[in-house]
């Protein structure tokens, strides 16, 4: 009788239980504050150039880019990590580790005064990963400016 109990319970649970359905909007708290944390303002730049920088940074972070729409200002990517590390990457190994496994959506939007707002959202919100992205983005812009001079 006891032997029947465990499979019986498993069977009953699997066939009768419904997964808890949640509405992702219910979990949203202070959207404005969260957006501000995720956004980097780049001055003297248009959306298309910003998308190029974003793509470069995501590639440095070993991300595979799944969608790019520069007209809309959108880059989607998923972070993976290769076993053999390529040389001459700006992103140090530890930085790539911080973003590992994340799905990243970046939106680029032109704001007033020749600036763009770059917002990067990570599916596993992590301050280190977000900071890494911002640092690399600023480095990429700075490097381009230095090369142009």
């Amino acid at each position: 009788m006891r032997a029947l109990l465990a499979p019986g319970l498993v069977l009953l649970t699997a066939c009768t239980s419904q997964p808890v359905v949640t509405n992702p909007f219910a979990k949203l708290a202070d959207v404005a504050a969260q957006r501000q944390l995720e956004t980097t303002i780049l001055r003297d730049m248009d959306a298309e150039s910003a998308c190029v920088h974003v793509t470069g940074v995501l590639m440095d972070l070993e991300c595979s880019i799944s969608e790019l729409n520069s007209d809309l200002g959108l880059v989607s990517a998923t972070s993976t990590l290769r076993v053999i590390e390529p040389v001459n990457f700006i992103a140090a190994s530890r930085w790539r580790q911080t973003c590992l496994g994340n799905a990243i959506t970046v939106s680029v939007k032109e704001t007033s005064g020749d600036s763009v707002a770059v917002r990067a959202t990570f599916d596993h919100p992590d301050p280190d990963a977000e900071q890494t992205f911002r640092t690399l983005l600023r480095r990429s812009v700075t490097r381009q400016m230095e090369e142009a001079q």
Partner: protein
Amino acid sequence: MRPTTSILGLAAWFVVSACMYANVASGAEFIPVDGAAEQLQSRRYETGDPKQLLQASLAILQDIRYLVSESESEPGLLVAQPSWAGCRCTPQQLTISIAPVAGQTAGYQVRLSIGEAATNSSTDLQSSPVETDFYQDFFTHLDRELFRENQP
């Protein structure tokens, strides 16, 4: 382990698998959308800039941590999935389309559809309170976003 227990365990595993498959498969059935469902999924906006609607929709998808897998500016289309794989507790695919309203020069219709329902059975697609809330919340956030963007 006694043979009876092993056989019972194996049988239970088969039945559990079958139940899980049945739950997944039921979501793939085709249910034609009626007028009421379309009304629930759609809103009209008086704007001459469909890109603004797309960008506002994108911002909301980012808020709820969905990953955009497809996008088209002309005609307006966004397809997104939750990136946390394996969780079947939220809509598994969102499609947002933006199309001009016939007969209006500055009117666009935004339509949101849930690819794979947030519920176990597709039969309650139009009656699930969670889905109704989801549509309403999406458009509430879209209204807010557009209002925010139009502020000087």
